[in-house]
Symmetry: C2
Subunit: 348 residues, 2 copies
Amino acid sequence: PNVLVLPGDGIGKEITPEAVKVLEAVLKGRSTSLNFEYGLIGGAAIDEVGKALPDATLAAAQAADAILLGAVGGPKWETLPAQERPELGGLLKIRKALSLYANIRPVKMSPMLVDASTLRPEVVKDVDLVVLRELTGGLYFGEKGRKTNPTSAYDILIYTEEEIRRIVELGFQMAVKRTGRLCSVDKANVLESSRLWREITVEIAKDYPGVDLTHMYVDNAAMQLVLRPNQFDVIVTENMFGDILTDLASMLGGSIGLVPSASLNGKKGLYEPSHGSAPDIAGKNIANPLATILSGALMLRYSFDLEEEAQMIEQAVEAVLAEGYRTPDLAKPGDKVLGTREMGNAIV
Amino acid sequence: PNVLVLPGDGIGKEITPEAVKVLEAVLKGRSTSLNFEYGLIGGAAIDEVGKALPDATLAAAQAADAILLGAVGGPKWETLPAQERPELGGLLKIRKALSLYANIRPVKMSPMLVDASTLRPEVVKDVDLVVLRELTGGLYFGEKGRKTNPTSAYDILIYTEEEIRRIVELGFQMAVKRTGRLCSVDKANVLESSRLWREITVEIAKDYPGVDLTHMYVDNAAMQLVLRPNQFDVIVTENMFGDILTDLASMLGGSIGLVPSASLNGKKGLYEPSHGSAPDIAGKNIANPLATILSGALMLRYSFDLEEEAQMIEQAVEAVLAEGYRTPDLAKPGDKVLGTREMGNAIV
Ligand SMILES: CC(C)[C@H](C(=O)O)[C@@H](O)C(=O)O
Ligand SMILES: CC(C)[C@H](C(=O)O)[C@@H](O)C(=O)O
């Protein structure tokens, strides 16, 4: 299969090679081998060809079997018109163009990182949850603009029944495969879109009598994630709430530097770390490649059905952490600190 | 001055009397005395007069100098059309009708409650921040509705320049009075309303050269609140982000049961706990009245300029906690557990 690698900006350029290295190592001598191609996205693409998502990149993404993305954005491109910037013009555009509506962000506490969390060990030690975030609808893609007299700006949060149905269905399916608990997060006491979301969720629930479905308001969900994270197994929610809750949930796994993500549409997948391009630490060989490496594991699992190989990567990460190796972002006194490349080598 | 008390639903009926008791006690023999009147709101008003915000309540609120509110909502009224429910038809309606655009939620860790937090003591022990939430705009009050072909539901996030300006100005003023740090939270990499918010904030900043202004995306802000809460002093943000971040921030103060709120419009104030009506524990004399009692302190401070008396209440809460008294929600083994009324008496 063909994998399109889009390093993007900042640390994206340093962390994607480590994931490629690990994918090559784990597949060596196995029946599946991956063919890596490279493309431009984000600020790097703006600089080279004047567009955050060049046509060639989109065509390559459409042709590829899976995509591995680093991160996009940085101060250099922040003065451009919003629609042209790396985020809107690159990342959101490729998500939408490929209809990658299902964003999966698993957060599992590693026994080795319990001490890296700012939450108490007893609260986070057993955290094992997945946030399923709708990725191609809502405020992100609704009409937006300015008005005059008086000057104002607006963004429309809109969801069709179909958009809600496909992501919530997936939530139920994931819950069935895990412990059977699904928490749908909305703000149905205020938003009409949330009320439609809840109606559809309640309707779909009839097809999954074995799933224990709860509904939670987003404000309460943010609080409950910190108060009793173990109550959660699968969380399903709309785009903006999911954006906020996944960053928050990453704190329960010790660090956002460990949270991979898969963005799927039933056929193709795009895999990227949940963190950003961190321009402040770029180019110094100190970025943590683990979320990208673990995104590679998700690629093997979801795009190529290589569960065993996916677990080999996940276990390698655990083993390296267990040996006391850490990138600087995770290091505590006494740890053995590794650079980006050295961490990739250790996993290999 | 006249204070309108709106107990509302669930535990609202139990916690407001305790706040009234404390306000009466602290003002006894002082030059200001408060005259308490009572009104209906939320489910209680629906049951009695068929409307979540009766005309009589609104008229009384308009005439009063300040309002003390308990909480609204409960399963009993969840099947009503959304616009008639306690939340939309009661709480949001009175906020809007009185133009209470500035919601202040201070979160300060009490030394006594460091152990009640699920965050590590060293992370939360010095937390002292205020979230300033815009309360009458955004997704909450924008046009909302359904469409057919295909079936969809929408909510409009809209802010006028003027709405942004007045709340952000207040944020700068609060920052000046505190440690001079203001963090404006938005999602300017995606939302047009956030871009207008940021432009206006940058413009206002010119009038406050002494304030150290930072901008943070809402997803990162949720993460940073858990990672390094001490970096925050005053946070200013729009309605929905503020809803989520205040519930989250309450965890940094040990419990949402301690977070008061003031909703102001420059003239009048409405004071309510940040928590909800908790129908599951209502009527059992076990609800925690402290957030409501502390909301009474905010009333003295912001509506009646009685700083000394406000601090007397705040110190009484500290003292009672220091003596080891706790309501059940805060109790750890060895604590002296008090009921709602008994906690009110202890503060008195
Ligand atoms: C960079 C930004 C547009 C993006 C988002 O908000 O989706 C990021 O925060 C993420 O979560 O992938
Ligand atoms: C009850 C609900 C409508 C309300 C809100 O979202 O504003 C509550 O969560 C709050 O924060 O005061």
